[in-house]
Symmetry: C2
Subunit: 161 residues, 2 copies
Amino acid sequence: MTRADRPTELDDEALETWSALATMLEWLPAALDAQLQRDSGLTHFEYGILFALLKAPDRTLRMSTLASYSNSSLSRLSRAVSRLERKGWVERSPDPADGRYTLATLTDDGATHASEATPGHAQMVDAVVFDALTAAQAKQLRQISRRITAAIRDESGWRPQ
Amino acid sequence: MTRADRPTELDDEALETWSALATMLEWLPAALDAQLQRDSGLTHFEYGILFALLKAPDRTLRMSTLASYSNSSLSRLSRAVSRLERKGWVERSPDPADGRYTLATLTDDGATHASEATPGHAQMVDAVVFDALTAAQAKQLRQISRRITAAIRDESGWRPQ
DNA sequence: CGTAGTTACTTGCTCAGTCAAGTCAATCCT
DNA sequence: AGGATTGACTTGACTGAGCAAGTAACTACG
């Protein structure tokens, strides 16, 4: 059933909902980015890279694995890792098992920095998401997010990559 | 009450929720942008500009009004309007009532283009949001979005602009 | 064993966004 | 009236992202 088949009465309500969602969609990532930037000089994307490496065995991952973790193109990742390398937080080396792969490894400095960035970021997420919602709402939000994500995945032609 | 005071048991669930939300936060804007770009050669931001002008009296708004509607900096808006001007969809003129203001006006071409872009975009929003949710979930989503937005607004020091 | 093809990146180009510094018009304050 | 201030943009320099073309390391096939 598409929206067109539903009672027209819903449309105003839907518009309100869409407006509220669109606002949240704009501000939430901006707020999280601003906190990370202010407190740790990192974009959310860079933080994701450091965090993934921190949790990985030997603090090391292949570029391509990291790209799929962080849901980004290899190109974007390559540039981001270059920036992190320049700051001394990550190092690159060819994979001895297959020279086509590049291994990204978190340095000690990088591990320290990532560890220090984490609590503040988690606190921000708590403050703007979980503290703002009831437990039931949080649960609803999980299901809603999954449904929307699934709907996007199903949309003809378009595949997130 | 902060999250730290809640039963630890919730943490896993919260992590799941956060992960689902983060995924949605990444894919939903990307999916909407992709649809607009593919079907109308517009970014979501540019579409917002055209749509706001289309609905405005005389299809005209001051730049600063438009900036607050689209929740953007004047700088960003100025560049976007320059692009739309180059395509012949928008024109600029000084406000006769106060020369400091600049009026942005939708051209006929621009109005046509915006009108043509709207149904496809609305359909996409329906497809990935409203069709994917029950009416109750949509209602919940509206409240959840508002609460999160309010929490961001309340966060010390940070004001969206 | 050599060559064609594939995989895993990297990089040049271009574009959109931010920030800070301009410009220009109105207004305020003696 | 007239210099200082404020408001509303605009623009130049810089940064990050995407796309497409390049490169280097392996693999498959005749």
